[in-house]
Point group: D2
Chain length 351, copies 4
């Protein structure tokens, strides 16, 4: 086996990424080395590519990006018993400390000392990636490779949908990016009676229908709150799944929420948001949930079980499959907002 | 409108029922009079027909049976505002007192002073039935009449399935009578990954497959616990939905339950049951739930929303549709254990 | 018995209240007439006295105010069985419709069609008040009359404290008005390990200590967030109980909340509030709860049981006891912010 | 430091224990070596001493007993960062695997591959004990040493009490051994309104009163179910905390439980138990919880916070403090059932 490998890295503080040769990672006694089959590009990767303000405060170049992936275990450290070479795996890329207050309480997804592989450490846009064994998630070989590569964002969707009651509920999804779209499919698979969705982008509205949304609204052209009220006999929706981070969508979502409902917020606003706390939260007796990452590892269990059930069809989401070398094409298509999930193949695209 | 009507009644302490003429019920200011379209026969009705020990202690003849039904509102009392003549309705037949500890806590389904229509009061095996307005459940006219007639047992199934987490879970249903069968369909519609079911009756095992069970086992011929372990990688199921009341099925179910799982018990054993509390409950850290009736009215909301979603197909369950006069034929078929849900039509079977 | 009675009423759109003679209320078959022993003045009453913008939109004069009270049942309507003349009672003053989505789901405290006695109907600043029987809360005669008169705001406190886990938790109460102060005592009685409180008013800070707060901070003079962090080993508090409605307190509270914690919001901001949703809610995986009224009737059960346990001492909260006629003195003292709960006695102050 | 140490060990399959010299444990890179200050004798230790059937199936001599203890960290392995020499600590003695279904779901207390220190590995009846760093629980030096030595059983009590709602509840504790007694104090500290307790042993009934029970009953002399009903207005208790494992107490407890209540079972019956499932669980809509160990590490957080609050007084529970050498005296007193918690001091009893 070669001692160097191909990687896609941020080399310096500034816009862009570059294809670089780097050493194959050394692994410690509790680590696993995974040969990457497919890696998917996240919105966060776009931000780092573009070197926005958040990236400037968080990313310390040089670092290899990539935190959505699947692969085959190449080798394991001497203390690793639960994983072995040849296993088909993905991984939770948030590495928690294990001893802070949150870790001790079973809230590892909000660990105070979290480190994220592909952000803080070298990630999966590479032929190989090093992962602590406790973060490895073994997969049934029956799970298709392209689904396996996007378990990270699918986990965001499942975490959001299952953060409260869902069977027999009426739900509004605001924002139909990839996670919003997956949430629609997951909500329907979990017995949601009616899913309404809002999205300004026409292409994405079409995808929302394909994912199973019952009513898809264009907030630029329609009165979302009035439409939701009409569809719910004036009551409002039982649950808001906020996926846009957009202040207007957040405001509409809260207004459309019924008294006693829940609002699960995953979309990331770029600025502080002004809320009508009295009418939209307090007098409504609403529950608002911040959703971050995926529960470790309840969400992973639920997600792989849902995939196994065969009731979650994500096929409409996928875009091109490209070798790692064609990353510039992938990033520029994604920045246009029209592509689905694009997969990069560091070890070559399978025929 | 005639002042008398056709009813199917228990007239005296002893086996059997008889077709009788009785006055159309007078309604009070808070009541609703419903013209019955279809009424379904419950296992409880079979017990009362047969006059078993439970019936002898509970039933005070004369009384009209029938607590699963749908119909059209004929007229309402002067204080009733939320229901009007012509509405398509079913009803919760447990009439709660409203002021006991449980009613005050939102646990009206286990009200200390409950009275059951069709058991303690005259029920729906009649052309008309009197129902307190607060117990009426208005239905979307799009719900088919035969589904509307069995919301009572479907509510038992939904109450059981949704008494704990269900999406992405692996579930064992022990006993495939009507409620067990409905539970299979509901569990799958709510995102259950794998449903295993046990049943000794071959015909019902066939129905279990039609309702969506992934694995159907015959406990008379197979080692249920070993099979469940094999299907779950040795872990056991996340949830047991006990629908049989049979001691052997209860024991198998508890053994097949994983540590940390939940057992939801709806089936009614005829005798006290001996449990291995230490190994099956305490050391497992299991949660055991007694399931009675339906939550008032969370379950009704969930149930009608699930039907609206179109993902719950109950068609395989239904048997014959008969005029009320042919009740003897209906009861004898049901006693044989091979019929599905038989519907009686007090006002005539629609073409 | 006289047919007229003394009342304290808002007679016209404008500042002030007046003492008026009015007919003793007629009661319907489901109602209860209560002879008022003591009634307490709520902050809402101050707003209505002052005729602020909210009052102008909500109050339709003439109406008798007063929604915190206790008394003795004078007589009951013919359909009332669970309450009888001579019972010592208080009441939930939110009258719910019983048939909206929320009422059917056991969320009657956020009923879509709620009417509030003392706001929308004639209230308890009168010799007698009419209450629907279902809203009556019977009291153990051992509960002291002054406690019985303030169950409405105590219920707000109990609802807030018990809206999430509390035993063994570290809690921050922002704002030490009467409900904030009661929350401190309730939280300690329910096993809270550490209660921190913030309040700008020195007198109220003194009361906070008397109610059992472990650490009391003056946000005008201290860095609240830094102090909370220091007291919690850098982690932040498990729960925020927001009682002030003040934007700065809300911001401090959210910053002081640990990742994975809960924020229960009861205080009413007068304007929309700008929140750092990303850092204070989403990335924290926090749960935010709007708290309105009291759960019907879980909170009433909990509250009366807590009082019965003898572990909740509210004595420091009480101010003067005055005959109804001295309402001007009471309102002016309360407007100064220094008085505790002042009780009015429409039927005379007991010796 | 010496390379050998004093231990109390089971040396062979048969009754009794013996004082033995053994090597001071070697620690791995993730381990901690603790110098034991005080260790407490558990009922399980009595069973192993007596070599009952359970012990014969589980214990593989030679092994050092002792799983309730506190001590000072002597040294730590090279990978241990969160603990350091000199720390005052106790430990969770259940060592979980980290990768089974339950561990992944945050239910490590029912890990499928659990190993218990003091049962499966050498324990704390020794001058030193080896503990994996992740199982160490650091203590505030303000916690008294005798309390610190019994956090394991106190954790059982806290786990049981807080397994459901407790503030404002009415609770029945059946069986007043050490864990039952601690449960009484914990329940009262967490806002329980009324605690009833049953116990046949007169001495323990006296302790139950000291721990704060409101009503203490002798089931050999009184009709427990009738008394509970009388104390609860006929309703029954909200929660049963079953601490005896005795079939008659279990039956009484279930009968005394109100409809909709919860039964939390910790006591270990020696045989299968016959339950009236229909009337005591199913028709009641009851929730039954098997309680095993302590939640890792929610319970530890709650427990240390409750101790810090100063509202849990366990002093009446403690018996003698003896050097390890006097273990025979300790075991024989405990077998008589009259002693409280006896502490053994492997490194000498402090003055």
């Amino acid at each position: 086996m070669s001692t160097t490998m191909k990687t896609l890295r941020k080399m310096q503080a500034g816009r862009g990424l570059s294809l670089e040769s780097a050493p194959v990672p050394a692994i410690g006694p509790g680590d696993v080395l995974v040969r990457v089959k497919a890696a998917s590009i996240c919105g966060t990767d776009l931000h780092i590519y573009g070197w926005d303000r958040w990236s400037q405060g968080r990313i310390k170049p040089p670092v290899t990006l990539g935190h959505e992936f699947c692969g085959i275990v190449e080798r394991v450290g001497e203390e690793v018993a639960a994983v072995k070479a040849g296993d088909f795996v993905s991984a939770e890329m948030h590495v928690n400390c294990g001893h802070c207050h949150q870790c001790r309480l079973g809230q590892a997804h909000v660990c105070q000392n979290v480190r994220v592989i592909g952000i803080d450490w070298d990630g999966a846009f590479a032929e190989f990636v090093r992962i602590p064994a406790s973060n490895i998630w073994k997969l049934d070989p029956a799970i298709p490779e392209h689904y396996a590569a996007i378990l990270d964002p699918l986990g965001n969707a499942v975490h959001t949908v299952l953060a409260g009651a869902i069977a027999g509920q009426t739900v509004l999804v605001t924002g139909c990016g990839p996670i919003g779209l997956m949430s629609i499919a997951v909500a329907k698979a979990c017995g949601c009676a009616t899913v309404l969705a809002t999205e300004v982008n026409e292409h994405r509205r079409g995808l929302a229908v394909k994912m199973g949304a019952d009513v898809v609204l264009n907030p630029a052209a329609e009165d979302v709150v009035a439409r939701v009220r009409a569809e719910t006999g004036g009551t409002g929706v039982d649950a808001l799944l906020e996926m846009s981070g957009h202040p207007a969508a957040i405001a509409q979502g809260f207004q459309a929420l019924r008294a006693g409902g829940r609002a699960s917020l995953l979309g990331i606003p770029t600025e502080p948001v002004t809320l009508d706390l009295v009418n939209d939260v307090i007098f409504k007796g609403a529950t608002v949930q911040g959703i971050y990452g995926r529960r470790m590892y309840d969400t992973w269990m639920q997600m792989t079980a849902l995939l196994k059930s065969g009731r979650v069809n994500l096929d409409p989401l996928f875009g091109e499959r490209l070798p790692l070398e064609q990353f510039e094409s992938a990033f520029s298509k994604l920045q246009s907002g029209h592509a689905g999930k694009i997969l990069l193949y560091p070890n070559g695209v399978p025929r």
